[in-house]
Amino acid sequence: MIIHHPILGPRDAQEFVYLGDATLIDRPDGMNAGTEAFHDYAYNRDNPAGEHRELWYHEQGDRSWLVVTRNTVTHEITKVELARDVARAKGRSK
């Protein structure tokens, strides 16, 4: 698979490490959210057959985290964003 890195252009997926569903960005506040919510965040997944937004880390490149939109049935990649931009668009500024 080729991942079209927003900054570096087309890169072989082998340069990346895969983490999983991009909802892992939305970590609940461990002090306030409660055990159930944190359990759901840490362990449960939608695991869809079809379009999937997921986190890839460019370990052998610029060390950026990407949100890749990929079809889990065809492996076709339709969108690649910097995870930083995705998080900021959600109002995260740190």
Partner: protein, 416 residues
């Protein structure tokens, strides 16, 4: 029809005109006591033991494709019970004992071959870990042996013992481990279940679940609604898709695992060998092909086919261990969809919906578990209580911190 040596001779003398189809092809009835979703190894074994061991009737197995068309026909056929942890080892040893009596039990030749499995050791730390695991196996009634470097060399003199990164220092061996003809397992269970009145319904995909007041009433399928008092789901890589019909999210990701077979060779490996450090394992089929594999591709996939980098990685692992195979050609590669769980261990449990039960999360180790998985799931369905050997495989273990994490990787399904 019971199979036997006499039957083969009698049929040979009469032109093989007496063989009958091995199972019926019934249309679904309006309602069953038990519906098992998934006509793979685990689903068919569940139906078989429900009928045979737990005396239940009015059972149907619903399969979206054909019987045994999923992972039970795609794996590398290895059986073993060489686990460490308390939640796992008794269960897998139970499974291995069932394998040992399986062919007599269901009167079908599954070619169970206890040819032995060895896990290679390269460092003192690995030897310590293997010793500990071997002791855990023995404590649970399994067999384990620590082989020295010379003993491994006597078995397989052509291995690369002096690889500079992973020199072979010995191995942990389980002699009772081995291989089984995987398709025959599905066929044997299917035939045994059908003979006991189970309806095996193929080309019947579950498209929805009818749930009223927190209780399952039946399933919507591509062949219409089918009512049921209890529904058991055993669909491996499709677990999340099917359980989504009940509104459930699972601690599971679906990943693709590839497997490989080489052209036929003369006898080279008499058992099963794993080279964990090199992400490679291998055995040799009765036809002579080397059957081998390595890691999952590492990203969520429902494609039943993988990509080239893993093929290269597995081939490199093979070459590091067995330089002699350098000119051997790869005959086929294929992929199956693994239900990778959050701690690398399975789930056999009831759900919050009354009458709906789940069996999944087998990662890439489901084949060896087939008999015990079927037995324990049938026990759960029939008695509404977990089987003693599978009592640790609960949904709530993640909430309670009771994970069964053999590899110690945490909630990263692609690393288990």
């Amino acid at each position: 029809m019971r199979y036997s040596g006499f039957r083969v001779i009698a049929e040979a003398l009469t032109g093989h005109k007496g063989w009958k189809p091995v199972w019926r092809d019934p249309a679904p009835q309006a309602e069953y006591d038990y519906i098992i979703i998934g006509g793979g190894g685990h689903g068919l074994a569940t139906a078989y033991y429900l009928a045979k061991e737990f005396g239940q009737a009015r059972i149907a197995v619903l399969e979206k494709g054909y019987l045994g068309g999923g992972n039970v026909g795609r794996n590398t056929t290895i059986i073993r019970s060489n686990y460490l942890l308390d939640g796992n080892e008794p269960f897998y040893e139970f499974s291995l004992k069932l394998w040992e009596g399986l062919e007599q039990d269901f009167n079908y030749n599954a070619m169970v071959s206890q040819r032995g499995i060895i896990n290679l050791i390269h460092t003192d730390a690995q030897r310590d870990a293997a010793t500990r695991r071997g002791n855990a196996m023995i404590l649970n009634g399994a067999d384990a042996e620590l082989l020295s470097r010379d003993q491994v060399r006597a078995k397989y003199p052509w291995l690369n013992f002096d690889n500079s990164r992973f020199p072979i220092k010995g191995a942990l061996m389980q002699r009772r481990g081995g291989t089984v003809r995987h398709d025959a397992v599905a066929w044997g269970y299917a035939r045994g279940a059908d003979m006991r009145g189970v309806d095996l319904i193929q080309n019947c995909e579950v498209t929805g679940m009818r749930i009223e007041n927190g209780r399952i009433r039946g399933v919507e399928t591509s062949r219409g609604f089918i009512g049921a008092k209890k529904v058991g789901v055993a669909v491996a890589g499709s677990s999340s898709k099917v359980m989504a019909h009940a509104g459930m999210r699972l601690p599971i990701e679906s990943h693709v695992l590839q497997a490989f077979v080489s052209e036929g060779l003369k006898p080279l490996i008499d058992g099963v060998m794993t080279f964990g450090a090199g992400h490679f394992y291998v055995s040799q089929s009765d036809k002579g092909g080397l059957v081998f594999g390595g890691d999952i591709d590492g990203y969520n996939s429902y494609a039943q086919r993988g990509n080239l980098p893993v093929i290269e990685d597995v081939a490199e692992g093979g070459m590091a261990l067995m330089p002699a195979i350098g000119r051997v050609r790869l005959l086929r590669t294929w992929g199956g969809i693994m239900d990778m769980s959050m701690d690398g261990s399975p789930i056999i449990d009831r759900t919050e919906i009354e009458g709906l039960y789940f069996n999944g999360g087998w990662c890439y180790g489901g084949f060896k578990a087939t008999p015990a998985s079927g037995w324990c799931f049938a026990h759960l369905l029939a008695k509404d209580a977990p089987h003693e050997k599978a009592k640790a495989y609960r949904f709530d273990r993640f909430l309670k911190g009771l994970m069964i994490d053999e590899k110690g990787q945490g909630a990263t399904p692609n690393l288990h």
